[in-house]
């Protein structure tokens, strides 16, 4: 297991490098730049700005400069939010995204897995059909529909929960977390149901039944772990996406999370900001895929060798 972790972390370095360099080059190839405003800048001002941010150097030089700074933990200055560093912006926005995403992840996993397992135990009955229809609906509805709808019903009509911004309590979290968790819940429920329903028909479950083991014990001891393998493989990348901020939810509920900076940064050609968020996102994806693989190994020992 230690070998798996160290090997995966080592292969993560070239992957990250490739992602950073590719994003760097792609952004420069796209038309426009950080200083192309409505009013054109005076040429000498523009030259001074470009020199200050190192944009006058050759592309390989800029990449190298960025990478050496990054190695020291410096994401560089933002080119649009002039008084802020990218590191500072991320440090401010990431906790909000982590909180919402983390809560949504826990909610979606618990609700999705339990619903899916319950449906699998009633496979073919009407409860199963209803639940799976609901799960399909949840995965199909985009958050820009469910988010405003939830805000409308529970915020404006019923007035139970705040619909925008943060407050000192916890109830501002409820609506964005639910809106973010819904589609993931649907997907997890479908995967868990398919996993368990397939597992219940397998030979080793029949062998356990032949031993007269009680149905609940069979479920817990023999069926659950193999049934959750597809859920684990889905939740790895899904977790990374949830935790790094959801731009739609942040916009709908007016929350200062990371997702907004990502989109704003891309529109403004704020090169360091976009690169910072991309690097963070890629790092998290790699990390969570590693977690998913470790969970696989626990769920099914055959995957520990490979």
């Amino acid at each position: 297991m230690g070998r798996l972790i160290s090997r995966r972390l080592l292969t993560a370095i070239p992957t990250l490098l490739a992602i950073i360099i590719l994003s760097f080059v792609l952004m420069r190839v796209a038309p426009g730049g950080p200083f192309d405003g409505e009013r054109p800048l005076a040429p000498e001002v523009r030259a001074a700005l470009e020199a200050a941010y190192g944009l006058d150097k050759s592309l390989p030089e800029q990449v190298w400069l960025y990478l050496t700074r990054l190695a020291q933990g410096d994401f560089g200055p933002s080119m649009v939010y002039r008084d802020f560093t990218v590191g500072g912006l991320i440090a401010e926005a990431l906790p909000v995204s982590l909180l919402i995403g983390g809560c949504a992840l826990v909610l979606a996993s618990l609700l999705g897995i339990s619903t899916g397992l319950w449906a699998a135990l009633r496979a073919g009955k009407w409860q199963d059909e209803v639940l799976m229809l609901g799960a399909t609906l949840l995965t199909a509805l985009p958050t820009f529909v469910t988010g405003p709808l939830l805000a409308l019903i529970f915020g404006l009509w019923l007035g139970w929960l705040p619909v925008s911004g943060q407050n000192d309590g916890w109830n501002w979290l409820v609506l964005p977390v639910i809106a973010l968790a819904l589609p993931v819940t649907g997907a997890v429920a479908k995967l868990a149901r398919a996993g368990l329903a397939g597992e219940l028909g397998s030979d080793h479950i029949r062998a356990a039944r032949a031993r007269g083991i009680a149905p609940l014990t069979i479920l817990r001891r023999h069926a659950l772990r193999p049934a959750l393998v597809p859920v684990a493989s889905y939740l790895g990348p899904a977790a990374a996406a949830l935790l790094t901020g959801a731009v739609v939810i942040e916009t709908v509920f007016g929350l200062p999370g990371l997702g907004r900076y990502f989109v704003q940064g891309a529109l403004n050609r704020d090169y360091p900001l976009v690169l910072g968020v991309v690097t963070l996102y890629a790092g998290l994806i790699i990390l969570f895929n590693l977690f998913a693989d470790l969970i696989y190994g626990w769920l099914d020992p055959r995957m520990r060798e490979g």
Binding site: D203, H204, A208, R211, R221, H222, R302, E305
Partner: protein, 514 residues
Amino acid sequence: MSEGYAVRNLGVRIGDQLIVDDVSFTLAPGEVFALAGASGAGKSMSAMTPFGLSAGVASGSAMLDGIELVGLSEHELSRIRAEKIGFVFQQPLTALTPHRTVRQHLQEAAMQAGGAKPDKAAMVVMLEAVGLSRPDERLAQYPHRLSGGERQRVLIAAALAHGPRYLVADEPVSALDAALRGEIMALLVRLCRERGMAMLLVSHDLAGIEHHADRLLLLESGRVAEAGPAPQIATLPATDYGKRLMAATPRLTEPLPSLPETGEVLLEVEAAHIHFPKPGWRRGRIDAVVDASLTLAKGETLALVGGSGSGKSTLGRAIAGLGPMASGIVRWQGETLPPRQRRNAGHRRLIQPVFQDPLASLDPRWNVADIILEPVRWLVPEDDQHERAKDLLEEVGLPRDFASRKPASLSGGQAQRVAIARALSADPEMLLLDEATSALDPLVADGVVALFGRLQRERGLSLLFITHDLALARRAAHRIAVMEAGRIVECAAREELFANPQAEATRRLIAASG
């Protein structure tokens, strides 16, 4: 309370369909009783349904030690299974839970009837009793580390762990390597005798059980065909069905059937080597075939026999140009055939394959005529194509109107005949038969083997007959080559091979098939 298991007028339904009808038998304490018959005859259904382990619903009566099983709830049946019976299934590869160690399986099994948790010494004794090597190490291992035979031994140990009076074994050896089957079957019977257990055995292989079972019941389409002492039913059946089944089961003791004359040598393989890189990140290579040489004459059948993993299929595929060959020469009538990437249609026409799983080798979306004519699609004028397909169907013993069918509507034997017709449409000189009958029911397989014989006589075909079944090879092949660990350890005419076996592997195979 009467001891033993008595089944009276058992019926099994799935939905509206009556699968088993009016089956009666008794299993006395300590007896080994076998249910046999062709596939679909209702053997497993008759054995498993009264215990609640099949999709069927039982009617009639099944009394176990004076308790009526038919009509009991799943909860009550579950308790009876836990206390009185041990089960052994066909698929050792999948019947163990992948994330639970051998130790956990044995502990669960030993405690299923409320017994105490066994300590390590007790579990080692259990594994030793089923002949598993290095039992100490095995306890901590997960199932995927064990071979099929080792897993079946663990499953047998688990079935016995709670000290049951009855053992129900559903095709316990048919998924295993041929060399292991006799050994595991003998182990099961010995354990029953030693512990005074009664065994209900389900098997399609008459030859495999005739020496092991006390009594035998033959099922035909869900009904009893005949029943009696096992050696008698297996060798001197009274019914027509029993006779056909017996004739379809090759035995080493049967008289050698005559085979057609052979002509000059067509195929020569010299010093073939085949290896594969080890999977994953590991260094090194797996030597699948080492220094294999063989010849095949016109109208001759050469059987390539060996256990699983011996390299027989890999060698066959390489000869036909379907798989890689690292070095070695393949000659056809003295002319060297190029490596597989450079073989042209003319080379490929010579050797046509027929595979083990007929349905998997037919495209489900094509109709039978298109499948059969695929090799010659551009060579036969469009107007003649349908007649050609129908002629080929007739040649392999299928009705001409099968041409418009889809593979899904064919039985296993019919599908295999379509695959044979496809091989014939290229007008080959030689057929590569890769376990071409082992997925089929004994009666159907026997018909397909007979078809190969007829095609050989009529067309003068040469056959490379790859099989794990030595008795079948003896019945069908002029010469037999025995493979072990990638090498051809012996190759001789069939009379000579059995009269005077040279290699250790040959002697082991003969002993295992006897």
